[in-house]
Each structure stands twice: as C-alpha cells, then as structure tokens.
C-alpha cells in the first residue's frame, strides 16, 4: 500500500506501464526459450514427407512409427541411453558422496595442511578439463581403459566445484557441536559422517547430484575422445554421428525423434524438481 503511494510520487513511468512492459518482455523471452522445443516435439510426431512439406504447428500421428524406426535403425540409441545413464548416475553418486566427504574433512578437522589444501582446491576450481585432455587420454591409453567407463566416472570423485558448494552449505547447516555430541555418544568418525552428516546434507546433495548428473549426461568432449566402439557410445556421441552422416539421406522424423529422446528426459526431471534446481543455482556460485 505504502510503496504504491511512494511509487506515484516518482517521475518515471507509472508503475502500471512498467509492469506491462515487464510482462510483455517476459512472455516474449519465455516464447524464445520454449519455441524450439515445441517445434521439436511437433516434428517428432510427423512423417518425413510431412516435415519436408513445410512447417505446421499441429501435432502429427507418426510418433510411435518414428520411435520404432529409430530403435530399429542403425544407431544404437537404446544402448546409448543406457550407457549415458550408467555413466551419469555413477558419476553423480561418487561425486556427491566424496565431495561431501572432502568438505567434511575441511569443515570439521584442524590439521596442518588444511589451509593449503583448501586454498589449492579453490584455486584449481576454474581450470577447464579440456586443457588436460591430452595428458588424460595418454593416461587412459597407458591404463588400457579406452572404451571403458571408468575414466569417465572415477574422476568425478575429485570435483572442486561440488566440494565448494558442500563446504558453503556446511558452513550454514552443520554445527560442530553436533559432531561433538556424536563423539560423546561413542560414534566413530566414519559412522558419524555416514549416519549423521550425510542425512543432514540431503538438500544440497540432491541439488548437486542433479547438476552432476546433467553435466555428465550432456558431456560430449571427453567421452568422444575415449569411446569409439558402438557398444559403449553415449548419446552425445551418437548425436554427433547423426550430424556427420549424410543429412539428406535421413528420415527427418527419426532425426527429430533422436534429438527429442536426448532432450526430453532431462526436461521432465527438471520440471519435477525445478524448485530445488533454480533455488540451488545461486547458492554455490555467489559468496556473500
């Protein structure tokens, strides 16, 4: 009530007009974000000739046929989906568990190297994986782990960004008195971590598990360097393969179906969990 009175006094545009402009821009921007996925969904339901014949905003009836054609085609898409799922899920589990453990070590204990290790992890947080990719594939070659999921999963244990997020969350949500209390009750350090700290960290674990899963699910650069047998390829590699094949020979209904197959599972999970995800974005990145 009060704020309206104050607003009326200022010499800028009236609040009603400003609100109108804001809504118009927001609706346009939302359209810009969603339009592509709508076209994708429509085209995934249409036949190749319908798609070639021009754009239509109406859904077709070819959804199931396109799906069957894609599954029966030359690209091992179901296999790719399973591979992507295994790698992303394992990475997410390892990443959140061990990042929480690392953050716990820094948060709870006092030891000589603590400050140096903490500073070091923060310092290397921004270094992109691409700059060590050469050494990485040489290492994978020496370990004879080409076409193996291990080099794509195990490195998730050392994730500075997730560590940092967990540490931030602990600062606000894990009082040291709680750890002391567990000690007095006779719980071992490892047990305290697993049975008391982990459940307490659930909200941040959930957010980071989703982020790690999605990052791994979407990752193209590293898997493409390591996986080259059909049996182990992940979805992004198959997409790239689809792109490099002679485009016009393809049934476009299948192409759209393949893209939809890679994108929509993430969209559905996101829509279910969006409250936590959007809320979690700001916490880890901005200090203060």
């Amino acid at each position: 009530m009060n704020s309206d009175a104050v607003g009326a006094k200022s010499k800028g545009l009236p609040i009603g007009v400003r609100r109108m402009i804001a809504y118009i821009v927001l609706v346009l921007i939302s359209f810009l974000c969603l339009f592509w996925f709508y076209v994708l969904l429509v085209n995934a339901t249409r036949t190749n000739s319908q798609i070639q014949g021009g754009f239509s905003a109406v859904f077709g009836t070819n959804f199931v046929t396109n799906w069957k054609n894609l599954i029966g085609g030359t690209l091992p898409v179901v296999r790719g989906m399973v591979n992507s799922l295994v790698i992303a899920a394992s990475s997410a589990v390892l990443c959140v568990y061990f990042s929480t453990m690392t953050a716990y070590a820094i948060h709870v204990y006092e030891f000589k190297l603590k400050r140096y290790i903490y500073t070091f992890i923060l310092a290397v947080m921004m270094i992109p994986t691409q700059v060590t990719a050469l050494g990485f594939i040489k290492l994978v070659g020496r370990m004879k782990l080409y076409n193996n999921f291990i080099p794509l999963i195990v490195p998730a244990i050392a994730a500075p960004v997730t560590f940092f997020y967990m540490k931030q969350y602990m600062d606000s949500a894990l009082p040291l008195a709680l750890v002391e209390a567990a000690r007095i009750d006779g719980a071992g350090e490892f047990r305290t971590f697993n049975t008391i700290v982990l459940p307490l960290m659930k909200p941040s674990i959930a957010v980071q598990a989703i982020f790690t899963f999605v990052a791994s699910w979407n990752n193209y650069f590293t898997p493409a360097l390591i996986l080259n047998k059909d049996k182990v390829k992940t979805l992004p590699i198959l997409i790239a393969q689809l792109r490099s094949a002679d485009f016009l020979k393809f049934d476009m209904g299948q192409v759209y179906m393949m893209i939809a197959f890679s994108i929509f599972p993430v969209i559905i999970v996101y829509l279910i969990l969006s409250k936590y995800i959007v809320g979690g974005v700001a916490v880890g990145s901005v200090k203060g």
Binding site: I15, Y220, P236, V278
Partner: protein, 303 residues
Amino acid sequence: MRNKHKAVSYNKWGYIFLIPFVTVYIVFQMIPLFTTIYNSFFENYMSGLKQIGPNFVGLANYKALFASGDIWKYLRNTMIMWIMGFVPQIFFSLLLGAWFSDSMLRVKGQRFFKTVIYLPNLIMASAFSMLFFALFSDGGPINTILVSLGIFKEPYKFFSHVWSARSLVAFMNFLMWFGNTTILLMAGMLGIDSSLFEAANVDGATSTQIFFKITLPLLRPILVYVLITSLIGGLQMFDVPQILTNGTGDPMRNTMTLIMYLNKHLFSKNYGMAGALSVVLFIITGILSIIVFRATGDRQKAR
C-alpha cells in the same frame, strides 16, 4: 592434556577423509596436466601412416603454433562469438533480475518465468545444436516460416554466411546462459540492503536512477565474477559450433573455436601441437582464475 590428546586423535581423520579426493585429483588431473606440458616440448605426430617422433624439440611447437596464424584466427572467432552472446546475456539478465527483485513491481508468476529461462541451461548442448541445425537448414522449418511470411524470397543459407553462422552460435550460447546469469544477479540484488531503495524512493528517484546509481555499483563484485566465469566458459566453447558445423568450423573456418582446434589435433594425434595449445589455454584460464579468486576473496574478507 586431555584436550591435546583429543585433538591429535581426531584430526588425523581430516587427512583420511581427504585421501579419495587427493588421490583421484593427482591421478586424473595433476599427472595429465604434467604429461600435457611435457608433450608440448616434443615433436609427435602422424605423417600419413608414418609416426614422427616423439623427439624433443624445445619450444618449436609453440613457435609453429603462433607462426601459423591459425590460433589468432580461432581466438578471434571464439572471442567474437562469446561477446555476441555475452552482451545480450548480461543485458537481459540485469533487466530481468531487476524486475524480479523489484518489490514495487511485484511480478507475478516468477516461479514459472525462472523455470522457463533456466531450462535451456540443462539441455544437452550437442542435441540442442543438432536441433538448431535441423531447424535452420535450407529446407528446415525456420526457412519455411520466413519464406511463407514473405521475409525472404528463397531459403536463407544460415550456415553458409559468416555472420549468420556466428550469430546462431552466439544466440544459442545466449539462450543457454542468460537464465543462469539472471538467477545469480538476482540473488545479488536481493542481498542489497532494502533501506537503500526505500531512501532513494523517498527522495523521488526513478527506478532507472535507482538501477544505475544504487543497484549497479553495489553489484560490481558479482558482475566481475559473472564476466570472468563467462569468459572462461566462452574460451571452452566447443559443443555448439562443433555439432552445428560438423567440426569444420565453416564457413571458411570462421566459427572454428580454440577447443575445436585442440580437438582436431587430439583426433589426428598431433600431440606436440595439442600440448602447446593446451598449455597456452591453461595459462590464459589460470590468469583469469586468479582474477576471480582475488575478487571473491576480497568479498569474503570484506564481510
């Protein structure tokens, strides 16, 4: 005495809990980094079917890298496409962040709008690029719509013109990142003491004045953070132009980025050049990281 004993017996667990992280970091990050640097001093590539090297050549790879001029072209491409995406990204993020956090404007449906603008950030970049390639291809839906609306007489070849191809890459980067930036900036704006806004209101400041005189200066640390992290992200630009152009960086390698160049060397097993390029990228991102580190560190100290 008892306290001291306690401290010793518990604190060794700090090291024990750090073992997994440190081990994996050393094996999968540190050793590869040193191998990468080491390889940058060796001549090591395939000439046809013949393996050349590895022979120690000192800094010859670096000389060759900078002498060929390709690296400058690709650096330029990367920066151009990053700026083309970053300018609208920061503009809309500031605008939307200001609207969302404005208590007088009371925008309804914020949850919906935030969910929608963040959505593209989670989409598989390679699939999203494949989608854009299909949509913007010569016979694709976008061309069909543009021709039927009478905007173009015949389909526009988006991927054959330098600026339309670059614009598409930049536009996709914009779409994928402005939601993320909006949320970050909004968090920063909500953290500003609201009494400042109230005081400005009482003094009769317009919302534009409030934005430029109060919000923007106080947001500076977060803006620096967003700028530098986005720049580091921009230097890593790969998936979108790689899939859109099928790795060629066409037209005429004008959308080829630094990481696409690195990827090329890695696939052709030219490890010497790949090493030199990696080291250069490592140094650039290292310098940028230090700036972020300093900026965020100052803020922590200030609190």
